[in-house]
């Protein structure tokens, strides 16, 4: 947990530095007509840096006292989480090529087979029916345009 805590605190500090840096570029003083563009971000950045420093100090003090380090994730939790995260990322990436519905169908099918170990019949039925119904619901009924990808328009000609 300590490492993750430190990483996130440093992440916030980095954001704070970015804010301050950009605020200097924009100007953070009192301009001609009022506060300049960078005023708000400047103090936000400053605040984030201060908070990060305070958090880091607390982390060191606390872990010096406690001694041990609690785990960020319980035993064996990383694997299921990565099994969710990486295929999801894959689905989003594939969307760029074949569109969301086909990519989601692949994602559903992959996850059901690989992780859920569900039979082929159910897998194929579900990974076909769910994207189909959502396609009809969103693209046709609600008229909400969803990503087609590069080739999706050709693959789904209706």
């Amino acid at each position: 947990m300590k490492k993750a805590d430190i990483v996130v605190a440093l992440f916030f500090m980095a954001i704070g530095l970015i804010l301050v840096f950009d605020a200097v570029r924009l100007g953070f003083q009192w301009g001609v007509t009022g506060p300049e563009s960078g005023l708000f971000p400047f103090y936000l950045g400053l605040g984030l840096i201060v908070c990060s420093l305070l958090t880091l100090r607390t982390i060191y003090a606390k872990y010096k006292k406690d001694g041990y380090d609690k785990l960020l994730m319980p035993e064996g939790a990383l694997k299921p989480i990565l099994w969710v995260l990486i295929p999801s990322l894959g689905m989003v990436a594939i969307t760029e090529f074949v569109g969301l519905h086909i990519a989601a169908g692949i994602f559903l099918g992959f996850y059901m087979r690989a992780v859920g170990k569900i039979g082929w019949v159910t897998t194929l039925m579900v990974s076909f029916l769910i994207p189909l119904s959502l396609y009809i619901a969103f693209d046709k009924l609600f008229l909400v345009p969803l990503p087609q990808g590069l080739w999706g328009g050709i693959l789904i000609p209706f």
């Binding site: 947990m1 993750a4 996130v8 916030f12 954001i15 704070g16 970015i18 804010l19 950009d22 924009l26 009192w30 009022g34 506060p35 300049e36 563009s37 005023l39 708000f40 971000p41 936000l44 950045g45 605040g47 984030l48 908070c51 958090t55 607390t58 960020l72 994730m73 319980p74 939790a77 299921p80 989480i81 969710v84 995260l85 295929p87 999801s88 990322l89 689905m91 989003v92 969307t95 760029e96 969301l100 989601a104 994602f107 559903l108 996850y111 059901m112 992780v115 859920g116 170990k117 569900i118 579900v126 769910i130 994207p131 959502l134 969103f138 609600f142 909400v144 345009p145 969803l146 990503p147």
Partner: protein, 501 residues
């Protein structure tokens, strides 16, 4: 007050129109399902449907969005009691005593207690909403930029001082939310901020995408941690449970009332249903004569957090329509939906769109009323949703979340952002960074900054403008007191402690 009742009657006329009624029921059903499912929470359930709602008239659209919220408030308890899995963040406290009670074979009884407490919380919340809203709107009309900014500061101070989490981390979360809001084009001067030449970043971060990622995917990661087994207790609500539940409720009037009041307080002074439920549980436990029973199936352990959660959810509407400050993260999303309709929440809404506002208030009455009967009758049906294999449910939920994230602005980058926010949401929850104020800061960021800049211009650059009587000064003072409450409370205890010794 008569005028309010008149207005309420007019609102009821709108809310009870067949089309709106049907939409409310659909919303409730969707909401209960969303409440039952982990990963599709009230906040991102509403967020995903916003693009759909745009095609409807504004009143109907808002009725749909808020009905989903009421449904989710009721629904989260079902899985808390039957599966020990909180369907919503505000149902976590229900698992403490609800699940043990169900394990002892009193699942139906627990469900009834929970739903009835929800109903009471809802009634108190809607009463406060109906009668206080016009009053506060009147006062809010006199607000200038300095007052608006001070109310926002009060909001965020409440999170810092009373939120229960590390103040430093809360402040960091709030500042992070503001920073996300600041990326993109500066409204006042038109300059590009923090975009570093990237056209993508020029669009900034949309709060709907953030909510879907932080609350939706983050929840999924948390749920998946424990493995994929979901086994539940079968619970049906029988007539005897209803009678027993009602009688039990009458034994705890103080707990019930206290829960509802805490809830409404946390809804009105933006906090939300989640902190409300925990606070009420804590209070009930501390002030109970048999606090050892808590955690084993104590009735008060269900009554208090449920009444609080629903009271908070309903009364969160109040600051949203009167001051334009959402009382809870889900309400923040609903407010975003309003803005998409072109309705700016705030005191002017009462003047210019009275029919809309009172239609919304009336639908709070109607929706919560119908929702209560829906859950009582169909709880096991909704619980059965979780019987679907998780390996099917989980990718389907992510699929729907991706649809929601994309539909906001038709940009693929938003879906990638959603994933990133999901990881961030998971990390933040694990490391105890509060997400609710972060989301609120993201939603309110531009408004807060504009108010601050206008106020500073009015005050010729002096920050003293924020401390001018008659309105800004007391609000800022209260904000400062609440902000430093942990410190002040520590001093108070030390002083009193010394006196005792």
């Amino acid at each position: 007050m008569l005028a309010d009742l008149n207005n309420l009657a007019m609102g009821l006329g709108i809310a009870l129109e067949p089309y709106n009624l049907m939409i409310a029921c659909i919303g409730l059903i969707l909401g209960i399902i969303v409440g039952v499912l982990p990963g599709l929470g009230g906040a991102n359930g509403v967020a995903i449907l916003i693009p759909v709602v745009v095609v409807m008239p504004a009143t109907t659209g808002v009725i749909l969005l808020s009905s989903i919220y009421w449904g989710a408030l009721y629904g989260g308890s079902i899985t808390s009691i039957l599966f020990n899995i909180p369907g919503e963040p505000w149902s976590v406290a229900t698992t403490f005593d609800g699940y043990p009670m169900a394990r002892k074979g009193r699942a139906g009884f627990a469900l009834v207690l929970s739903f009835m407490s929800h109903a009471v919380g809802a009634i108190v919340g809607v009463l406060i909403l109906t009668f206080l809203a016009p009053l506060i709107a009147e006062i809010a009309l006199k607000f200038g930029p300095a007052e608006i900014f001070s109310v926002m500061m009060l909001t965020f101070s409440a999170f810092v001082g009373l939120g229960g989490k590390s103040p430093v981390k809360t402040v960091a979360a709030i500042l992070f939310g503001f920073s996300l809001a600041a990326v993109g084009m500066d409204i006042v001067s038109g300059q590009l901020r923090m975009t570093f030449g990237s056209v993508t970043l020029m669009g900034g971060f949309n709060f709907i995408v953030a909510v879907i990622g932080l609350f939706g995917l983050g929840e999924i990661f948390l749920t998946v941690e424990e493995g994929l087994k979901v086994e539940g207790i079968v619970g049906r609500v029988r007539m005897r449970d209803i009678v027993d539940g009602f009688k039990e409720l009458l034994l705890y009037p103080k707990t019930l009332f206290m829960g509802a009041i805490i809830g409404c307080w946390m809804g009105v002074t933006p906090g939300g249903a989640t902190p409300a439920s925990f606070m009420a549980y804590g209070f009930a436990k501390e002030s109970s004569k048999n606090s050892k029973e808590f955690g084993q199936g104590a009735s008060a352990g269900i009554i208090a957090p449920e009444a609080a959660a629903h009271g908070a959810g309903t009364s969160a509407t109040l600051p949203m329509i009167t001051l334009g400050i959402p009382g809870s993260p889900t309400m923040a999303v609903i407010m975003g939906g309003l803005m998409i309709f072109g309705l700016t929440p705030g005191p002017m809404l009462f003047k210019e769109h009275a029919d809309f506002v009172w239609g919304l208030i009336a639908s709070c009455w109607v929706g919560n009323f119908i929702g209560f009967f829906m859950v009582m009758a169909f709880a096991p049906l909704f619980a059965a949703v979780l019987k679907v294999r998780f390996a099917i449910l989980m990718p389907a939920i992510i699929y729907v979340c991706a649809i929601g994230a994309y539909a906001v602005n038709n940009r693929m980058i938003d879906v990638y952002y959603m994933l990133v926010f999901g990881v961030l949401g998971y990390l933040f929850k694990k490391l105890d960074y509060p997400i609710a104020p972060m989301v609120l800061a993201l939603v309110l960021g531009n408004m807060a900054e504009q108010a601050m800049r206008q106020a500073l211009i009015m005050g010729q650059g002096s920050p003293l403008i924020f401390f001018q009587p008659p309105i800004a000064l007391p609000i800022m003072l209260v904000a400062l007191i609440i902000f430093f409450w942990p410190v002040i409370s520590g001093w108070k205890d030390k002083l009193l402690g010394k006196k005792k010794a």
